[in-house]
């Protein structure tokens, strides 16, 4: 039973490593800050989940399981927060996305920050639909 858990855990660690490699390749090849951020943050959270779950299966149920859970919880809390802050900073400094047809508004002229993207989305979809 323990032998099977060790093999399954090792497989999960390998899967998480492959996901991290995929994310690193995406960060190298994508053309834009925002697309790179997408690749990096998604594969970081997913890869961390797979690797730490695999290590938990390898170690079995003991005190290290709690440490692994805390490590996973910190990563799952901080990685999306850092990605959100980084995208906000890049948006505020005027970085334009190179992919997509929507137009970015300059940060000074976008006074109602909540209404701008929410109103632009449906009107853009409606005009393209008509």
């Amino acid at each position: 039973m323990h032998e099977a858990l060790v093999w399954i855990g090792g497989g999960l660690v390998i899967a998480g490593t492959l996901l991290s490699l995929l994310g690193a390749g995406g960060v190298l090849r994508f053309p834009d800050v925002y697309t790179r951020l997408h690749a990096a943050s998604l594969t970081d959270t997913g890869g961390a989940t797979l690797v730490l779950l695999g290590l938990g299966l390898v170690s079995g149920l003991q005190l290290d399981t709690v440490k692994l859970f805390f490590c996973w919880a910190f990563i799952m809390l901080t990685t999306p927060a850092a990605a959100n802050a980084l995208a906000n900073a890049a948006y505020g400094s005027g970085h334009k996305p190179r992919i997509g047809t929507f137009q970015i508004v300059p940060a000074d002229k976008n006074i109602p920050a909540d209404d701008g993207p929410a109103e632009d989305g449906p009107t853009g979809d409606g005009s393209s639909g008509k």
Binding site: G10, A24, V51, F70, H95
Partner: protein, 99 residues
């Protein structure tokens, strides 16, 4: 064996992240690459701890995860305000009143 392969793959992914951090066109690319590098470092520390039979490395991994997040936020603040000393809320209000 599987853990050793996982550690090697993580090292390769970290190398690719270092390449992006060096050639990144903007500063945000570099911060993004360093942040992702730090997350992979946490995973590598945990995997190496189990690989060498010393699971106490998990404490170091937890501390590194926290330091990584704080360092990312501090880098972005230093990039935006050119200083770490200015209070964030007061300077944001000053910028809003200027504009």
């Amino acid at each position: 064996m599987l853990l050793a392969a996982g550690a090697a793959g993580l090292v390769v992914a970290m190398t690719l992240m270092i390449v992006r951090a060096i050639i990144g066109p903007s500063q945000y690319d570099r911060i993004l690459a360093v942040n992702s590098f730090g997350t992979k470092t946490v995973l590598l520390i945990a995997v190496i701890g189990y690989l060498f039979g010393r699971p106490d490395f998990l404490d170091i991994a937890i501390v590194y995860a926290l330091i990584n997040f704080v360092a990312t936020i501090a880098l972005m603040k230093a990039l935006r305000y050119q200083s770490l000393a200015r209070p964030l809320a007061a300077s944001a209000r000053k910028d809003a009143s200027d504009a």
